[in-house]
Amino acid sequence: MAIREEGLALGPAESELPVLGKLHEWVVTVDHKRLGLMYIGGGLVFFLVAGLQAATIRLQLAMPDSRIVPPEVFNRLMTMHGTAMVFLVGMPILTGFFNYLVPLMIGTRDLAFPRLNAFGFWLWAFGSILLYFSYIGGDGLYGAGSAPDVGWFAYAPLTERAFSRGSSTDYWILSIFLTTVGSTATAVNLIATIFCMRCKGMTLGKMPVFVWLALVVSFMMLVALPPLSAAQVMLLLDRFLGAHFFDTQAGGSAVLWQHFFWIFGHPEVYILVLPAFAFANEIIPVFSRKVIFGYQVMVVASCAIAFISLGVWAHHMFAVGMTPAGNAFFATSTMLVAVPTGIKIFNWIGTMWGGKIRFRVPMLFSLAFLFQFLVAGLTGVMMAVVPFDWQLTDTYFVVAHFHYVLIGAIVFMIFAAIYYWFPKATGRMLDEKLGKWHFWLFLIGFHMTFDTLHFAGLEGMPRRIYTYQPGRGLDTLNLIASIGVIFQAAGVLIYLINVIHSLRSGEIAGSDPWDAWTLEWATTSPPPEYNFAVAPEVRSRRPLWDLKHPDDPDWKYE
């Protein structure tokens, strides 16, 4: 479907082996749309893999005293599940969406540095394969290699040579280092694109909020990813050159690793959730038939969240033994970041208020997102109350909280975004009926699992345990949580069927199936390689609204 430029010579190989030719095109592409789809596709593959790992965890924990998998295997499962979901699923899918949509939304042809874009993708691809390669390639000196088993945050000194023999930790370090460099490259690319390539008339104040969030997330990546890479380099120096950064036996500090990790780790979770907000900012207005309520505040709140989130990291460390003043400081900053976050929820409700809401599948996922993100935010505020956190931290309450954010907010919005933009990328609609089945099954399963896990934490169940004893009040809760997995899996299965079926015989979408207002809907579905035949010129935040309502354009009111 890509329109070939004139004069592009067709080598004989391409016409003789069309499949190879197509594959070659994808491998050498620098087109942001293809790279975006590759990121999303790759991320979804790992979503299934890490999801199966989670299902195995829940299978083990469904009953007490279970030994379906031995402790070593379980510890690898939980480490790989967490690491993969953050770096191999969340990051690529979300940056994949930015990759695909930002140039389209700002009316330009590609990202600022297309080859850097491709480089970032292949770095990610290599790093992601390297992580899973550890399962087969990791036989270190003591035969204790294999996949990393130190938890996704790899606390020191458990990760030092003395306690982690073999190369499993090294796989964790190196694979994630690579994917992180790739993400950083994408962030630089997005910032340069957004500052330097907007179409005429699109000042920063006229960009869709989606693009603002891409800008904010990119800045956060530039500042928050390096601390992780730095700490990983330090750990590598400890493990290979005998350095003592986190070597407590030689005076090093275990807490220092925690600080460095969470200086990355907390902004990282905002890097993951802000794109979910970006999706919501486009989808909710379109399906409510109203302009976003409070554009300026939404932008300012996003910037505020990014900025404040750089100063809350030690709320992951309330049990570590910081001073009362230190604890109080981080409690304060954490509660403060809840304010702009809460404001966004109110603005979304304000957008829906007085609208004519259409409950198509993207909107169903968005509604669930709003409820679930509200709950996740509230449990987060609960944990900012330090003494309460002393009970809750490192228990299944936290696990429930962050899965409420990661799945309840982020995955739900990823599904919403897929249903919303799939027509643009492929030219076909996803099936609405299958979509609704997907939604309801996934919703039910999600709540069965994660609502109950809050109570398991309150009842005394810590994180990362491969089994628990009967008679502690944990049996029923864990069983229900595990059954929820079946429903979630069913939902995902139906989604996969939907995708495969719709790619072949979905309803033709046309350029603007949802009657939306941003520039990506002004070109064909899928867009040609160059995106726009004529560079657009805009006068407001909703250029297509202006075209559809020439008597009542946005620029009169903005």
Binding site: A112, F113, T184, A187, V188, N189, I191, A192, T193, F195, C196, M197, R198, K200, G201, T203, L204, G205, F219, L222, V223, A224, L225, P226, P227, S229, A230, A231, V233, M234, L237, L241, G242, A243, H244, F245, A250, G251, G252, S253, L256, F260, I263, E537
Partner: protein, 197 residues
């Protein structure tokens, strides 16, 4: 194109910043964050080494290296200006001087390390000072080396006649990277040889 405020509203005088400059600034931002963590670790571990050698015993401020490196930031500015004005011969000479000053820094650092390792028995595994010193100074030296490689590439292209005044913008961007490396050295120098000693 000069970079102007991106808030230009009317399509008639629509101008946006240069993407090369924004790109290199992004790189500088992220590298600054990266270096900050090593500086933080260095400061955290000041005075915490259980055994020697200690900084005050073995460190002496590398004045010559510093003068060379910081001067190279001046020569590179003049080099780029010369290229913009089309004076390719002057550019080549100034670029070469910049390169040599940077090279002196690396060689001087290597000599300092040789002394520390062989005469003072300080390695990365000796104590916390050794760990943080070699990693921070080494990270910076690595960035200087990368800069030298890139400058060497430009030098080779210049000497074979490929670099012209229309490439001045690209050399400008490379010079920003070089200024960043020098600015980091100021921070590293103060942290290691002044505060930490």
């Amino acid at each position: 194109m000069t970079s102007t405020s991106a808030a230009n509203a009317s399509p008639e005088n629509w101008s946006l910043p240069e993407k090369g400059r924004v790109g290199i600034l992004g790189l500088i931002l992220t590298e600054s964050a990266f270096f900050s963590i090593f500086v933080a670790a260095y400061i955290f571990y000041i005075g915490k080494s259980a055994t020697g050698p200690y900084p005050s015993e073995v460190l002496s401020p590398p004045i010559l290296n510093t003068i060379c490196l910081l001067s190279s930031s001046v020569t590179i500015v003049f080099a780029v200006r010369a290229l913009r004005a089309g004076r390719r011969g002057v550019f080549a000479m100034l670029w070469l001087v910049t390169f040599l000053l940077g090279l002196e820094f690396i060689l001087g650092t290597a000599l300092e390390w040789r002394h520390l390792i062989y005469q003072e028995a300080l390695t990365i595994r000796t104590n916390l000072f050794g760990t943080t010193f070699y990693s921070l100074v080494g990270l910076h030296a690595l960035h200087v080396t990368i800069g030298l490689i890139l400058m060497g590439l430009v030098l080779a292209l210049t000497l074979t006649g490929h670099v012209k005044s229309e490439h001045a913008e690209r050399t400008e961007i490379l010079s920003w990277y070089w200024h960043f490396v020098d600015a980091v050295w100021v921070v590293v120098f103060l942290t290691v040889y002044v505060v930490g000693r």
